[in-house]
Every structure is written in C-alpha cells, then in structure tokens.
C-alpha cells in the first residue's frame, strides 16, 4: 500500500507533510518553500500555473488568477458570504446551473473544486518528488466549522486531483494532534485557529492517548483576507478623499493595494510602523499619482477592532459547550498565519487568561497533524486516536419552516440518531423530507443539504404508516440516511436529491483534463 500524505489546503497557503519514522515532516516545494500559495492562473496560451508562480502573476494577470477559492468551495451564489465577497474580487464569480458559486476565467466557468484540485495536485507532486513514489491517498484538512457540503466539495477536489481523500480532518484538531503527539500527558487544549479565511476554536481533552474534542465553534467568514480588506479600504478611502480617484475600479491598482495591504499587515506584526509605497498607482488629470504613506500598528489595530471583537463569542460558546472555564484549559495553541498579529494574540490571552504555547509553527502544524492522522490510519501510531464532534445541528424541516434537530452540534462522531415520521394522508405511499444543517430555528436560514424521498410505503389510513428515519454521521462528518417502515421492518427506499456539488461524471471529466 502506498503512502497517505497530509495536506493543509488553506485559503491563502497550502502545506504538505508525511510521516517519517513516526514523526511528521513538512515537505519543501520545488521552489524551496515550505508552504505554497493556494493560487491558480490560466495563461493566455492555456497553461495552468499554480503556487508562487501564480502569485507573481497576480498583478499582471488579475482576471485570470484565482486566489481564495476555498471561500467559495461548497457555497451557493446567493449565500450572504459569497455576495459580500463578489464585489471585492478581481476575478468574476458566476452562478452554476445548480446555484453553486463558480469562477469565470477567460470566459470559462470553473468550479472551486477544480481550482482547489490544481492546488491539491501540486501538493501531490511535491510529495511524490520527495518520496520518489506515486501517491494516491491523502488526509485533507478543513476548517472545523465547514458544513457537510463544503466537506464533500473538498473530497471531490481531491478526486479530481487523483487523490482518494481517506479522511477529512478538522484544522484545529489536526493542530492538537501534532502538538499532542509530542506532549502526550493528559491535559486540556484550546486551539485558536485564525487563518486566511476562517476562524475556528476547539476545546480538546487528551486522555490516555485519546484526543477527544469537547466542543468546536467558529466563524467561516473571518480571516486574514478580512484584515487585508480593512487596510485596502483604509488606503483606498483616504486616497479617494485626497485625490478624488477610486482605486477599487482599477483591477490592477486594486491588486497592488491588496499586495501592499498584506505586506504591511505582516510587517506590523513585528514593527510598529511600516511604509506603503505604491508609485504610479493611478492616473489623475495632472499626470500620475502616487500612494505613499506611513502606516502605524495602532492605526491598523483600531481599524481591525470590529474583526477582533468577533473572536470573543465563538470562544465563549465553545468553553460553555465543553463545560469548561478558562482556568480548566492547560494549553492554548495559536494556529494560522493571522495568529501572529499581536492584537489577536492579546485577545486570545484576554479570553483564556494565559499566554499561548510557544514553539508551534502556525503555518505548518495543521499539515503535520494531517500526517499524524495518516499514521493513525495506517497503524504506525497505535496509541493515539481522535474523537471529533460535528460542528452543526443537523435536522429536518417541519411545518412553519421550523428546524427539527436530529443530531445536535458538538455531538461526538461517529453517531446515529433516529426519528419517527408518520403519514398525514390516506394511502400515502411516499414522504419527502428536507435535510438542513445549521443552528438557526428557521430551516430556510440554514444550509440545505438535500431532499430525500421515502417510497414504497404500505397504503394505509393516514397516521398508521410510520417510518423510522435514521441519521448516521461517520467519523468524517458525512451523513448517511436509512429508513425502515415500523411494523414491517421493510426498508423504505431512500432517494437523495443533491442540491449542490459536482456529479460523478463531472469529477471524472475534470480529473482527465487535469491529467491525473
């Protein structure tokens, strides 16, 4: 059997690791980087460029360079998060036939799965070059707060890239695995993961080698991109006030602003001031206009305050769900590049009342955890195992658009829960049930996973035919439904109508196109 590699498929950067001699090792890419930008460009001649090479083209080729595809993965065009994103992206987001958010590159609509597949295929090649053997299997990480659709989309991206995704692992849990593999004594961990696009907080207990997630919360639309955008807005608004020119209308200028914003954000994590220097950013009536100014850490922190405030609620919810107080937490792990920002670290200290663990590389620890998990699967690591939870309520839409929850959030998985349904009409031979995921009491405000139809029911007066519906969630957080008619024990047929994602044929076709 070949190796299973661990991939952290990030919003901005991705990282790959393998287990060697029981230890996770991060692999350098061909350019020498330990992480690879999650960016894909389509050149005019049809070539696809991935990673650092793509990032270099961002300014010259903005409409054909896609970054942050993870934020669109498994989402609908009409989602509020997608709508908020669309106006700020230099590339065009379009709606697929089923309403999924896709990206149009040079007139060709492409699914976020396909774009992510290019990144995964690159990580696969990086690992193959290092190992000197072909790789077919991977553990891929996702934000803990990803829902079922987003997880499935990630698996599909893997399939297009020629990888069988053997496990979908939550990013904060992966970080805890990598940390805990070296610090195996019994303890409680809080993993505070602020990445490029998402924020996750997980509380875990390590007990005799069993890593048990007690609770998970998060915000799927809070990350480094949002911090960059605050800086872009600050600079663009100021520029507009001073020169009367709107930089956001010019994609090249916007791209340069974005790059400058990211760079100054990173610099302000260590320095107190930084220079933003963008000569010839726009053309005014009196010739070229330059953007040159100094940015102070204090200015950045004031502008980002509303974003930092959004970190509090998920942490408090997670602690409450885990029945923990901050004093019960032994270690706080900071994960994700954004956790380098001093103001973010201060907030974590404020929430948990203790400084964060040192010696954790926030960019690499998630991929290392994925590699550890591959070792658990392969049997190299016998004394470690993980019990994770489902992050969202899962239920059925009932009258009045209410949500009838079958599996509650933060239930340890795998799990199974059952509910009984009865017919409401005489001689009814089928019932249709819509499944939703999310915490809102109104089903329509949650994520619709699909509809299934129970057929072949015995004709009988209403209310007399009863069907027991069973929801089984596997260790990857993927749902399966079975149903049986009560009394006869006969399995009712379950037919699921998926409302998003790619079909098996599309995945195969895209896979062939990628040459995998």
């Amino acid at each position: 059997m070949g190796r299973v590699i661990g991939i952290d498929l990030g919003t901005t950067n991705s990282c790959v690791a393998v287990l060697e001699g029981g230890e996770p090792t991060v692999i350098h890419n061909q350019e020498g980087g330990r992480t690879t930008p999650s960016m894909v460009s389509w050149n005019a001649d049809g070539d696809v460029v991935v990673g650092a090479a793509s990032k270099r083209q961002m300014i010259t080729n903005p409409q054909r360079t896609v970054f942050g595809a993870k934020r669109l993965l498994g989402r609908k065009m009409h989602d509020r998060e997608v709508q908020a994103l669309v106006s700020r992206l230099p590339y065009k987001v379009v709606s697929a036939k089923n309403g999924d958010a896709w990206v149009e590159v040079a007139g060709t609509p492409r699914s976020p799965q396909e774009i992510s597949a290019h990144v995964l295929a690159k990580m696969k090649r990086v690992a193959e070059d290092y190992l000197g053997e072909p790789v077919f299997e991977a553990v891929v990480t996702v934000p803990a707060y990803f829902d079922d659709v987003q997880r499935q989309a990630t698996k599909d991206a893997g399939a297009i890239a020629g990888l069988t995704v053997r496990a979908i692992l939550n990013e904060p849990t992966a970080a805890a695995l990598a940390y805990g593999a070296q610090h195996q004594h019994n303890q409680r961990l809080a993993v505070f993961d602020l990445g490029g696009g998402t924020f996750d907080i997980s509380i875990l207990a390590i007990e005799n080698g069993v890593f048990e997630v007690l609770a998970t919360h998060g915000d799927t639309s809070l990350g480094g991109d949002d911090f960059d955008r605050v800086i872009i807005d600050l600079l663009a608004d100021e520029f507009a006030a001073e020169h009367g020119l709107n930089l956001r209308e010019d994609t090249v200028a916007l791209q340069r602003l974005k790059e400058a914003a990211e760079r100054s954000k990173i610099e302000l994590s260590s320095a107190m001031t930084t220079d933003v220097n963008l000569p010839f950013i726009a053309a005014g009536p009196a010739g070229p206009v330059h953007l040159m100014r100094e940015l102070e850490r204090g200015q950045l922190e004031r502008a980002c305050r509303p974003l930092i405030d959004r970190l509090d609620a998920p942490c408090r919810h997670a602690l409450a769900d885990a029945h923990c107080t901050p004093a019960d937490i032994d270690q706080v792990l900071l994960v994700g590049g954004m956790s380098r920002m001093p103001a973010v670290q201060e907030r974590a200290v404020q929430i948990f009342g203790k400084p964060a663990s040192k010696g954790v590389n926030p960019d690499e620890i998630v991929a290392m955890g994925a590699a550890v998990h591959s070792g658990i699967m392969g049997g190299e690591l016998q004394e470690v195992v993980l019990l994770d939870v489902t992050p969202h309520d899962m239920g059925v839409k009932v009258a009045g658009d209410r949500m009838s929850v079958v599996i509650t959030a933060n239930t340890s998985i795998p799990t199974r829960a059952k509910k009984i349904f009865a017919t409401t009409e005489d001689n009814q031979t089928y019932v249709a049930i819509e499944i939703y995921q999310g915490e809102h009491e109104l089903a329509s405000r949650n994520r619709r996973l699909g509809r299934f139809i129970l057929g072949d029911l015995r004709p009988a007066p209403r209310g007399q035919t009863k069907v027991e519906v069973s929801f089984t969630m596997d260790a990857d957080g993927i749902l399966e439904i079975t149903a049986a008619e009560i009394g006869t024990g006969r399995a009712a047929s379950v037919q699921i109508e998926a409302s998003s994602g790619l079909t098996a044929e599309e995945i195969q076709r895209l896979g062939q196109r990628l040459g995998t």
Partner: protein, 269 residues
C-alpha cells in the same frame, strides 16, 4: 453531501490486513451480543472509571479511522461496531451510576475564574449522543410536521414516605463541639453557583458542606439537584428526571427542584 446508503468511494486498495480486520470486527460483534459489560471486558466490580478506561482503550483499537483504508464494507462494519461500543459504554456507565447511587463527590480545588465572562453563557448543545426520540411526526408531503401531542409522563413508583414540614429537613440542633451547620446563606451560595452553571465550584462547596454535616438530607437533596440540573442543561433528560426526583424525595420542599422538574416536563418535546 448527503449520500444514499450504498454510495461512497470504492476502496481500490485491498490491504493484506483486511481478512484480519474482518475477524477482529466479527469477534467484537460477538462480544457486543453478549452484553455491554462483556464487550468492554469489565468485571462485575467495575467502577464508572474502569468503564471509561476500557472504552478509551477499545476506541484506540476500534475507531473507524483504523479501518479507513480498507474495503467499503469493512469501513461500514467498523462504524457499526464503534457505534455499538459507544452505546455499550454509555449504558454501563449509566447503570453503574445507578447502582452506586450518588457518585461520591471528589474534592476539587476551587479555582478562581480569571475571566468571569466565559461562564455566563448557557451550554448550547449536548455532547451526549442524540437520544432516540419516539415522538411521532406526521408527515405532510413535502414537509413533515411534528406532532404536538403531550408526551406521557412516566410516573415513578413513590419512594418511602418522607415526612413533610420543616422538621423533616431541619438539621438537628447544633451539637456541641461540631462545626457550624449549614446555614441558609450557604444554600444561597450553592444555588447562585448552580444558576451560573459553575458545576465544579458548586460541587466543591457542596462537598465541604456535606463534610460539615454528613447527615443532612437537604445537602444530599441539593447534590442530587445539582447533578439533575447539569444533566438537564446537558439535555440528558432521563438522567435529569431521575436526579431531580431523587432530590425531591430527599427534600420535598426543595422548590428549585420542583421548578426544574416542571420545566423538564413542559419543555420536553
């Protein structure tokens, strides 16, 4: 994505260990069929801690991830076996708690919360496996509607008669030389901690009070109430009912327990 039962990726990689995996899983299924204690390999004298330790050990061996690279039918079987193992642990733990009665409260060092804000939120959801809901929901195509019929309240056989009135719960007059007995003020402290869901601190205080006055039914009632309340907010409703009824049996005048029980029965769907 929601997928039909038969779907899933096919395992192309048929490992050498598959035959052995099938054997190990079938073996555990047999043990499970003999009962939860057999499955967990527990002696009759086992404690809830033993049950937990056994479950964790078996989790390392039987977690579905261990079978994640094998044929799809083995993965499904492993999932079933693990679900049964968890159910076995839960049922053993529950019956052990019943047998031993109230779990002796371990002394826990009271900790000073460094950030009070974290504790005021109510727990949002239960971590225990979802309970089997037998409430029937007639289905209107295309959307099902929940039945709103009242759920029958299962009566518990009446406990030994408990004399009502203050005499029943008033602690005996202070014995000379003993530590001061429990005062209404102590109760207020406990109830306040419980209201703020600071279970550990409440347990600590109750433990200290019970050490001061081991015979007090009132304190035992409060302990039962505390366990019941925690279970209730944790949505372990059956456990909550047992504990809260125990609390009322110990002290029929414990108003908070009456309120909680009423809430339990009215909110139960």
């Amino acid at each position: 994505m929601v997928r039909p039962p038969a779907a899933g990726y096919d395992s192309a990689v048929a490992g050498l260990d598959e035959a052995r995996a099938r054997h190990v899983l079938a073996d555990m299924q047999e043990r499970l069929a003999r009962g939860p204690s057999d499955a967990l390999g527990l002696a009759p004298s086992a404690t809830p801690e033993d049950a937990r330790a056994a479950f964790l050990q078996l989790t390392k061996q039987f977690h579905p991830v261990r079978f994640g690279r094998m044929a799809i039918d083995i993965q499904k079987l492993a999932n079933e076996v693990f679900l049964s193992l968890r159910a076995a642990h839960d049922s053993v733990a529950k019956s052990l708690r019943r047998q031993t009665g109230p779990i002796p409260l371990a002394p826990i060092a009271p900790h000073v919360p460094t950030n009070g804000r974290a504790q005021v939120l109510p727990p949002r959801a239960s971590r225990s496996p979802a309970t089997h809901d037998s409430g029937e929901r007639p289905v209107v195509p295309p959307t099902p509607t929940p039945a709103s019929g009242p759920r029958p309240i299962v009566a518990r056989p009446p406990g030994p008669p408990v004399p009502a009135g203050p005499a029943a719960r008033a602690p005996a007059a202070a014995r000379p030389g003993s530590a001061p007995l429990v005062t209404p003020r102590d109760e207020v402290v406990v109830l306040d901690l419980l209201q703020r869901q600071q279970w550990d601190q409440a347990r600590t205080v109750l433990h200290q009070l019970s050490a001061r006055d081991p015979g007090s039914r009132r304190i035992r009632a409060l302990e039962a109430y505390a366990r019941g309340r925690e279970a209730q907010l944790d949505r372990r409703l059956d456990d909550a009912r047992v504990e809260l009824q125990d609390a009322l049996e110990l002290d029929p005048d414990l108003q908070v327990a009456k309120t909680a029980l009423t809430e339990l029965f009215t909110r139960r769907r």
